[in-house]
Each structure stands twice: as structure tokens, then as C-alpha cells.
């Protein structure tokens, strides 16, 4: 399943389409070092963090996409960096639990 396909199936709002990547799992977390050390490659990363450092962590962890949960709005600098680095950045009014559950179903 590609990141764009995952976005469609989870009903996400597109902030930055980014590069097309395969999504093979998910990870939810907001402590950046924790996420970077533990999130699997090619995951959809669900977070409520919205500052520019999210972009660097997404690149380092090789996440396929970033989903901002609970209607969180990205800082302008995050959006700019996502466009620059080709990061797929989406948002949703759902919380991390609900998004994880939907992602799991989409990945089955």
C-alpha cells in the first residue's frame, strides 16, 4: 500500500503529498528521540508534534508518511521542510488510537 493509498483509506487531509513510498507499518509517538530510535522503516508515523523537527526525524527514521493527529496544524516551517525533503505529510481530526486502528485495518 502506498502512502497516498493509505491516506485515501484513512480519509486524511493532504498537507504535502511528498514522494510516493510503500507503507509497511505504523508508529505512534511524540517524543522525537524515542520515535527515531524505535519506529520501523517505511512506517506511517502518527504524532501530535507539529514543529519543524518532525521533518528531520521523519527523514532519519525513514518514515513513509507523517500523520498529524487530532487536527494539529503544522508550523509553517514544518510544511516548508516537508516540501523540500519530499515528506508525505497529512492531518486528521482523529486521535492516535483511532488512526492506528484504521491503519491496521488498511494494512490487513
Amino acid at each position: 500500500m502506498t502512502n497516498a493509498e493509505a491516506a485515501r483509506r484513512l480519509g486524511l487531509d493532504c498537507l504535502c503529498p511528498g514522494e510516493e513510498r510503500e507503507v509497511s507499518g505504523g508508529y505512534a509517538g511524540d517524543l522525537l528521540s524515542w520515535v527515531m530510535g524505535r519506529a520501523g522503516r517505511d512506517c506511517a508515523w502518527i504524532t501530535i508534534m507539529s514543529n519543524v523537527n518532525v521533518a528531520a526525524v521523519a527523514v532519519m527514521a525513514e518514515a513513509s508518511m507523517v500523520i498529524l493527529a487530532e487536527g494539529v496544524k503544522p508550523d509553517p516551517e514544518l510544511l516548508r521542510r516537508a516540501e523540500l525533503e519530499g515528506i508525505a505529510l497529512y492531518s486528521s481530526p482523529l486521535n492516535a488510537y483511532e488512526l492506528s486502528w484504521r491503519l491496521h485495518e488498511a494494512l490487513l
Partner: protein, 139 residues
């Protein structure tokens, strides 16, 4: 492959440029055709070191040496030094200020992540004399 040296200045002024050295290193390693899992380990090491330099020391310098056998990452700063290295190696221990924690840092995972992702980790530090962290990732 001859030895390749990459050098980066870590700007400590603001968090908006934080991570740039790590992102640049990652791209360079990819261009060299380094294996993806190795790149990932190096990226974690570099990013944690870079963020520590930004958060605690107002920036610093990073050098990456790529040889056929290993990648050696050295991150050096002129900050206050690490007062208690043993404590800093424990997951969850952090001295990051509240404004930094609000950005999602300060989980106390920096040095533990570096240790986990490198084959060798060496920390040279003294109060008031800065910190030099050397990490080796074998190829």
C-alpha cells in the same frame, strides 16, 4: 573506496535548522551506496549528537569519516560538558530545559540511542570543557 571525510558545522542558534547536518550526511552516505540499515544507524547517531550539541552546547562541529571498514562519526562542542555520564547513559535521564521538551526533545534517549546504533561509543567530556563524542559503525 578511498577514505571520504565529511565535515559539518552545527548551528546552535535555533531549532529551525537543527538536523540539517544529519540530513546532509544521510544524503551523502546514500550517494556513496552505503547499505540502508547502516545509513539508518549512522543517521540516528548523528542526529542525536547534533541535537545534543544544539540543546546543550549552542552548536558544535561534526566530522564523518567513511572508510571501507567503518564509518566514524565525531561530534564535538564547547559546551558545559556532561556532569554525570553514567546517568546520561540511562534511558529517561535528561537535563533538557522545559522549552526544549515542549518541542518533543528531552526524552532522555540521546546517548542510549547512540549506544544502541553504534558498534563503539566513546565520550570525552569534562565540566566546562565541552564534549567530544566518537561513534563507530562497522560496515
Amino acid at each position: 573506496m578511498p577514505e571520504v571525510r565529511l565535515s559539518y558545522d552545527i548551528d546552535g542558534d535555533d531549532f529551525s535548522s537543527a538536523g540539517e547536518a544529519s540530513v546532509a550526511m544521510k544524503k551523502a552516505l546514500r550517494q556513496m551506496g552505503i547499505e540502508p540499515e547502516t545509513i539508518r544507524r549512522c543517521s540516528v547517531c548523528m542526529y542525536e549528537g547534533e541535537m545534543n550539541a544544539v540543546i546543550h552546547a549552542g552548536g558544535g562541529r561534526a566530522e564523518v569519516l567513511v572508510s571501507p571498514e567503518r564509518i566514524k562519526i565525531t561530534i564535538e562542542d564547547d559546551g558545559p560538558g556532561i556532569a554525570d555520564v553514567e546517568a546520561a547513559m540511562r534511558e529517561g535521564y535528561s537535563t533538557a530545559p522545559p522549552r526544549v521538551r515542549e518541542l518533543g526533545f528531552g526524552a532522555g534517549m540521546g546517548l542510549p540511542n547512540m549506544k544502541r546504533c553504534s558498534d563503539e561509543l566513546d565520550i570525552e567530556t569534562a565540566a566546562g570543557r565541552g564534549t567530544k563524542i566518537t561513534m563507530i559503525v562497522r560496515l
